[in-house]
């Protein structure tokens, strides 16, 4: 977050540059803002815990091949359903003899893949719809908001199920289904922000300079909505992960043998009473990761929007 080039002509050093009261360039002003936001976040121990969990998730996903003791899809039916702590199987083995710990690590990749794809698509789409609706006003606003309301009229999982029913199971379809159900809140937020900005003097000034509506919306209005959207995204991540896990549990997300955490719980379900670890451990992973995002999201919201600080 604070990684950027420091001008070597700085007399006072990088820290002074980051906390300067009178920045000399837009880049510096942005960096100062980010740095101060970071300081606010760092003061919150729970948010730091959340950040730590997220970082661990990302590292686990990146370094899975190095960290995993075993091949996640290699089956060994002679060593099935071994309890955690058995040598070579830190968290036990599943019904096909695969090491659960390794599958968890590779599963982090699947989780991150889904989350990343959704985060790139849904908020962007929602942001676009919201800002256009807010800025254009009139019947464009009414139609777009009506559309948003209709999507919000479905519980997320049910609509995702319906989409998957039409598209078929698979990880990309699951991503599409989740994205299609996640964008409405962003549209709402973006529209609300746009409505407050729309009548500002600086927008009028840009319009007088001859900027087209597209340029205004994309170049000036959208960037101002970004911080609310970012906070909302982080808070939404947990929900996305849980929905993806739910779809996986139903067999509709990543297909076997991909080690998706929700699917792992599903297959472990039949052994829940005696070999409880097969279904319980992946759930703990989902829980921890969601918790991490929630803590981070709460912290970000408190740091970036002081009005909501309790």
């Amino acid at each position: 977050m604070t990684d950027h080039a420091v001008p070597s002509s700085g007399r006072h050093g990088p820290l002074a540059w980051l906390t300067s009261d009178s920045p000399t360039s837009r880049l510096q002003a942005k960096c100062v803002q980010i740095y101060l936001g970071w300081l606010g976040l760092a003061r919150n121990p729970l948010a730091m815990l959340g950040l730590g969990i997220v970082v661990v998730l990302i590292l686990a996903a990146i370094f899975a091949p190095l960290l995993a003791p075993a091949d996640p899809i290699a089956q060994d039916l002679t060593r099935r359903l071994l309890p955690p702590g058995t040598p070579g199987f830190l968290l036990g083995s599943d019904e096909l003899g695969r090491d659960i710990f390794s599958r968890l690590l590779y599963g982090a990749r699947v989780t991150l893949y889904i989350v990343a794809l959704v985060v790139i698509t849904a908020p962007v789409f929602g942001l676009l719809i919201g800002t256009v609706a807010g800025y254009a006003g009139g019947w464009v606003d009414v139609v777009l908001m009506r559309m948003t309301d209709v999507f919000l009229a479905f519980p997320r999982l049910i609509l995702a199920l319906a989409f998957v029913a039409a598209l078929g199971p698979g990880i990309e379809n699951a991503v599409l289904a989740i994205a299609l159900t996640s964008w409405p809140p962003y549209a709402r937020i973006a529209r609300a922000e746009t409505l407050t900005i729309r009548n500002s003097d600086f927008i009028a000034a840009i319009r007088l300079q001859g900027a087209s509506p597209l340029r205004i919306v994309v170049g000036h209005v959208m960037p101002l909505c970004i911080s609310s959207v970012i906070v909302r995204v982080t808070l939404d991540m947990a929900g996305i992960i849980l929905t993806a896990a739910g779809l996986g549990f139903l067999g509709l997300g990543a297909q076997p043998p991909l080690p998706e955490w929700g699917a792992m719980i599903s297959t472990g379900r039949q052994f829940i009473l005696d070999q409880w670890w097969v279904a319980t451990v992946p759930g703990l992973a989902i829980f921890t990761v969601s918790l991490g995002f929630n803590l981070l999201g709460d912290g970000l919201r408190d740091a970036l929007d002081p009005r909501s600080a309790r």
């Binding site: 049910i158 029913a165 039409a166 598209l167 829940i272 989902i286 969601s290």
Partner: protein, 353 residues
């Protein structure tokens, strides 16, 4: 706090005024448009998204005759607008097509399974609200101290836990290890179809029939899934209650109440909570709506024959009519609950009239 007198007075005033009727009209139009949009989406999912919409309805094992007959009935050669119009009129008459799995009209299937979900969601909401509201109040009153942290932590867990996992763990601990509750399903096989079905809600039907054994069995089956689902309601309700309480505790009328010499308990539970209930009613209605979503996965884990179970099984069997029919019904109920929460707010708040 005499709500009843003011509610009936307010409602009378509201409906009789000209602007009241206009407002009602606008509300109905808005509702109709949203419903239309909902049907448009399900229509698109059913007709436009699949590669072969007929196949999606009749299934892979259908004969050529059935395929052709269905193709004709669906009118796939007609322009999309006509198809959509036919779809809308069909849905409005309750015709969701026939289920592939059960070969019965989808609407019949849904009528059979919906009470089970209602029962589960209602008991879950009762559990969530009856624990969540006091928890939120206590957290707010002791802000910053350990009760507050505990309640907030429990709430945070509720936002982070997968419901199906919690259900499985619950089964493991309370059914498998402790044997405190009954296992999956609504009733032991022994008790199925013993009491006549009046409402479809077994807890009520068994009481109506005076059969306490069935009631006890139904209760022991519902308590775990309802508690699991109720936990999510609890997380949401307690968080919102706490937030509203904190907002109200900073208001001047609280000082006035204390100056009058009222006990702190009376100040909190009569004066402050009375104000908190106004937005809280909305929260409870929304929580109920959210539980519809959570019930899908809970029903799978507990083999609870509700609408979530129905839709998922239909999905796995590629029974498009059933999936879409269920989706539409859930969507309608969802919209209805959101509407209810808006209306309730207006009745409960004396200022909003």
């Amino acid at each position: 706090m005499s709500l009843t007198g003011t509610i009936s007075g307010g409602r009378r005033a509201w409906l009789s005024s000209r602007s009241g009727i206009l407002k009602l009209g606008r509300l109905l139009i808005s509702l109709a448009v949203t419903l239309l949009g909902l049907l448009l989406i399900t229509f698109l999912i059913g007709r436009v998204m699949p590669i072969d919409p007929v196949l999606a309805v009749v299934g892979e094992r259908a004969t050529n005759e059935v395929y052709e007959a269905t193709r004709k009935a669906m009118g796939l050669d007609d322009p999309l607008i006509v198809q959509f119009w036919n779809y809308v009129t069909e849905v409005l008459t309750g015709n969701f097509g026939t289920s592939l799995l059960t070969s019965r009209p989808v609407i019949q299937d849904i009528a059979r399974v919906f009470p089970a979900t209602l029962e589960l969601a209602t008991v879950a909401t009762i559990i969530g609200v009856s624990i969540g509201i006091p928890a939120g109040v206590i957290a707010a009153v002791h802000q910053g101290r350990w009760p507050d942290h505990l309640v907030r932590l429990l709430g945070l867990f509720g936002y982070s836990m997968p419901v199906f996992w919690l259900g499985l763990v619950g089964l493991l601990v309370f059914y498998g290890k402790l044997d405190w509750v009954a296992g999956p399903g609504r009733l032991d096989v022994f008790f199925e179809d013993v009491v006549p079905q009046v409402t479809g809600v077994i807890l009520i039907d068994s009481l109506l029939a005076g059969d306490t054994e069935v009631f006890a069995n139904a209760l022991s089956h519902i308590i775990l899934p309802a508690s699991v689902l109720g936990y999510y309601s609890l997380a949401y309700v307690s968080r919102m209650t706490r937030s509203f309480m904190l907002e109200q505790l900073a208001q001047e009328y609280v000082t006035t109440a204390r100056v009058k010499g009222l006990s702190e308990a009376r100040v909190i539970w009569r004066h402050v909570l009375g104000n908190v209930m106004v937005p809280l009613i909305t929260v409870i209605a929304l929580s109920y709506a959210n539980l519809l979503e959570g019930s899908v996965l809970t029903e799978i884990v507990f083999a609870w024959p509700g609408i979530g179970f129905y839709i998922t099984n239909a999905l796995l069997a590629a029974d498009m009519n059933a999936v879409l029919g269920g989706t539409v019904v859930v969507g309608i109920v969802f919209i209805g609950l959101n509407l209810l929460s808006d209306v309730l707010y207006r009745f409960v708040d004396p200022r909003a009239r």
